[in-house]
Symmetry: C2
Subunit: 208 residues, 2 copies
């Protein structure tokens, strides 16, 4: 369990935007414990101990435990949105862009399922004022996917009777990967990404 963070990400996950070093170690420790036990079941002592510090050290870098969650959620949502928008606004046909969006979004949720679990499933633990700016990011993610679907319908590539509903379903399917994905399982993030991209393309394909 101690090296789960490094093992999960293949040894490379920056969190480089978090400084100084001690603040980053605390944040990484928080991600790991939040993911394993849930936000409410995690104590500030758990986090500090995992980061190799005393309980009081946490409060030098963060005002509250909730601020830690908010920072994690913010960084994760920024990344998720970036992935989707890159694919949505990239080159290629709607089908290619949709496949790339699903593939990379799913790959991220699988490879970083620890982070993703916190980001996607601990929203309700945020304070209302923090929750609302995260919800805004989620709406942008929704808009990115919807944009691809609408483009595909307009181009005649897709047959999607209910664009908002299908958008919801596609995002829901991808997000839920964070819940069930197990790093010790058989499938690699790449494999899951490829499978899901295929399934989603079938969901929207125009009947020839």
């Amino acid at each position: 369990m101690d090296s789960a963070g490094a093992a999960e990400t293949g040894g490379y996950q920056p969190w480089s935007e978090v400084t100084p070093d001690a603040a980053r170690r605390l944040l990484v420790a928080a991600v790991e414990t939040f993911a394993a036990r849930g936000y409410h079941a995690t104590t500030t002592r758990d986090i500090a101990a995992r980061a190799g510090m005393s309980p009081a050290a946490l409060y030098i870098h963060y005002k509250t435990k909730e601020e830690l969650l908010h920072r994690i959620s913010r960084i994760g949502h920024d990344k998720a949105l970036e992935i989707l928008e890159t694919a949505a606004d990239g080159p290629g046909s709607p089908a290619e862009r949709l496949a790339e969006a699903v593939r990379s979004f799913v790959r991220w949720h699988a490879a970083h399922h620890t982070t993703a679990r916190v980001v996607q499933y601990e929203l309700d633990a945020l304070a209302p004022e923090h929750r609302s700016d995260i919800v805004a990011l989620r709406r942008q993610s929704d808009a990115a996917v919807r944009r691809i679907l609408a483009d595909g319908v307009r181009a005649g590539e897709f047959d999607v009777p209910d664009v908002p509903g299908t958008t919801l379903a596609v995002l829901s399917l991808c997000i839920d990967v964070a819940r069930w994905f197990n790093a010790a399982g058989q499938r690699t993030p790449d494999e899951v990404g490829a499978l899901y991209a295929d399934l989603v393309l079938r969901m929207v394909a125009a009947k020839p």
Copy 2:
């Protein structure tokens, strides 16, 4: 919030297997608070207060707070499994059975999204010995869906390169309805069920 339980279910949800009356009231209160705030964020005082009793009353009917969760999880998983197996072993072609399975499973998750949220997303809060018998039920659910897919492939109705992976995706898609479904939203459980049945059929359809 007080009448949310009744409103959500259209005034009819039995929990009839739970007796006596006070035990059922406590259990319903627990479902509502667990769903709204999460298991760990819910106190035994919250539950008792919502059921209109003193904190001590809970311990007449349940040994621990965790036993309450286990009972809820057990009843919910029994119901979910029954829905899937009824569809899987029912009459009709594989496509019809798959559509019916998804439609009824999704309808249940939407109509009873409060219960479903607890059942599907609070598994980790169970004690290990309780968790394992719930996991066994989930494996049976997985087997039911897999059975339909395998039948469809054998009959040449479906084109599914990865049956275990697609089974996982279908269940994941349906389960996640409990997370995002909002009783105050525009869609009815029936509508979501119909949409999802269509999407899933497209995912597995053989190319003509």
